[in-house]
Symmetry: C2
Subunit: 484 residues, 2 copies
Amino acid sequence: MYSDLQLTEDRPVYIQVKDYLKRLMLKGGLQPNQKLPSTRELSTLMKVSRSTILLAYAELEEEGLIYALKGKGNYVSTLIETQQTNAIHWQLDWTAEVSDYAIQAEQYDLMKHGSGAERGEISFTSIAPDEKLFDLQNVKRAFLDRMSLEGEVLLNYGYAQGYRPLMNYLLHYMENKGVDLAGKDILITNGFTEGFDLVLGALRKKSGKALCENPTHHTAIKNLKLHQFQLTGIHMEPDGLDLKQLEQELAGSAYDLAYLVPSYHNPTGIVTSPAKRTEIIRLMNEYRVPIIEDGFNEELRYSGSHVSPLISSMGKGNGLVYLGSFSKVLFPGLRVGWIIADVALIDYLESMKRARSIHTSTLDQSLLYQYLSNGNFEKYLKRARTEYKRKYELAVHCLKRHLPMCQISGAGGLHLFVQFPPEVRTRELLTACKVKGVTFTPGDTFYLEPGQGLHTMRLGFSRVSDENIRKGIRIIGETVASMM
Amino acid sequence: MYSDLQLTEDRPVYIQVKDYLKRLMLKGGLQPNQKLPSTRELSTLMKVSRSTILLAYAELEEEGLIYALKGKGNYVSTLIETQQTNAIHWQLDWTAEVSDYAIQAEQYDLMKHGSGAERGEISFTSIAPDEKLFDLQNVKRAFLDRMSLEGEVLLNYGYAQGYRPLMNYLLHYMENKGVDLAGKDILITNGFTEGFDLVLGALRKKSGKALCENPTHHTAIKNLKLHQFQLTGIHMEPDGLDLKQLEQELAGSAYDLAYLVPSYHNPTGIVTSPAKRTEIIRLMNEYRVPIIEDGFNEELRYSGSHVSPLISSMGKGNGLVYLGSFSKVLFPGLRVGWIIADVALIDYLESMKRARSIHTSTLDQSLLYQYLSNGNFEKYLKRARTEYKRKYELAVHCLKRHLPMCQISGAGGLHLFVQFPPEVRTRELLTACKVKGVTFTPGDTFYLEPGQGLHTMRLGFSRVSDENIRKGIRIIGETVASMM
């Protein structure tokens, strides 16, 4: 006892001594009313200074865990008694206690059941930004700037709707994309995902049916299913949704919502054409189906053409809910996204947000605001685009060379979508590639029905080095060749 | 046109020029294929340098919004055409589109329908920490320390379960409170509120009934109701729950859960006695009712006696879900809380968390971790306790003096609970006090049934100056006297 104290470097020594003694008491190694060693004695046993022991004892006394008798020394308090003796070791079987929602959330959790990448592999599975691009100096600058201005405010409770300067910045930002803000408002969320979850929870289920692109973002599929929506997928053509099918489905059944990713769609990378955008809005209006627009990637274009979100074409119309995020272009570790929608809907969403998590971290919001308003965004975006464009072009080049039999889509963003000839099953290809240290996301992950997209893959290139893009795609090519 | 450009200080000028022109185009002030002024001309009109205009034009060209004809000048692109002409102004009545959940969330939203404080009032409504206590220097230090160590990691995606160093710190912290961690695990949440919402969503509804203290934390009542639980309130005695009533209710009906705040209960401030804690655990085990323990305030004791959470008395038992938060002692602006529970339950909760918001801000988590492991917590807590204790004692002193007819409860934390003689309706008292610039929370806010707690009030003192504590309580006292 005592001499087995193991010190670590990450905490003050007197606290480690205090914790050591506390645990002894709680685990019964020291009994109520037992005398503790003198400070001198303990100092020798623990090989720490006597003043450290004095500090530790003072802390323990302050916490009521020990008491001092004048001239006699320190004793363990009786207060810890209850805890030691009354443990019942009550056991519940939690697997029988959880809701269907919890069970489904676990079942659909790709981080648990998907094919993750292992260390050392060349992994094309991620579409997160490349952290080497992060300009940490400006992030630090923004933090210090904001903390100096109103540190106390940032660290105390904020408001459910969001941090006002950031809200104003983003409203302005959206206005610059051509959004008519009359009758609309904004809510700050913990990224796209929370925003989507809130909106799905806020919509009244009438038909219980939802439309989406097929394939589409797997997290969106998961969340739509978790909200018990029955999904109808619309086939993707090179310029966006198959409008014939869309109209048929709309005519055939009522839908509560349509979830759409019009720019650099996940996983196909397709940008819906201006003509189709107009037609989609017209149809949704005709059939009164609210659109949930996911603008996740719209900044990451590499060609000269300008892409506006659908909401820019809505004028004063309020039938669209826009979900924004900088997670793919800035820092996803800060969980900040936003919703632009009709004021009446935002009012409900604000109350839901308050009930669920009070508000999004004020620190994250204010840091992001300061970073943006310091003028860093434009510069960073330019740098990120240059870098990702190079990788994008390299990946396209390698794919054309090593997988000449494939169709490639993707006009921007952080990934490409590859369609193999029907005889190539990408799950089998993945198994073979993993052996050679290369991994990607099998495209069927993004399809609504089993058996769809079996010969497709998504290739995320943002976090793969040029060398590994070359090597990885070459290996995929060689592996396919050996399988065919 | 052009000369009405209004510059602000918060963004680079060329971006403001770019945005100005972009908006002109989007709003139809500049038509497709229209020639733009020369850079020299625009420089004069806008009163900014020509190099700024050059930069702005380059940005617009890069975005595909304008095109240059060699030797002729710059022209508006045709790409913006669609947007201007196709707006349908589609209108939906969102109040008819929202779910019952959204409607209830709005109805129960006290920030919208409660009695808030106005500027300049002496407000006893808040139980948030006093931001004057925040040690910003150490927060800055922690941020810079952590950013230097692994800035890139912090800004990119993290894990749903949490930031590992913080998880380890908190596990250790809970172990030091006597928690047996065998078979248990941790999940980091966006504060207590998200944790509670996740747990309520994870529990299978069998009876659909839940037990709680009456009165209790109003956000908890709201969230239990939003999850469609039917609530049975147990009367509070000075040393905790009325055990007779508890046993009667348990014998009379099945319950899916009990939500309990055993230390510095909100709103009564009561600390459940050790004997009652043991008995509560025994009863809940006997009737197989899982406990959700809210440890929100347990650090804020002002007397010498040691308070452990209930979970410390559970040994290897897994029937309790502990929700922790530092929001009342450290910085609520960082939305970080945690759940300690059985590994099987945490596994489900982790997937739910991932589905709803991916993960809690890594920046918040890592900043908090570094702040804690720099050894600031103990020092800060000591300072906060000293400060709050003084305010607490002052408030008790003033209450005894000015409201001698009242019963006061609260042995720690950031608020006191006051029971007036039955003839004093605190809602009426509040109306009268507000006229005199003093506000508090009427106690009925915290009760389950209308008509309960009509003669009670919660008095939060953490953010009120000593002078205003004296003045505010004196005014309440005078107002009661004039009403009686």
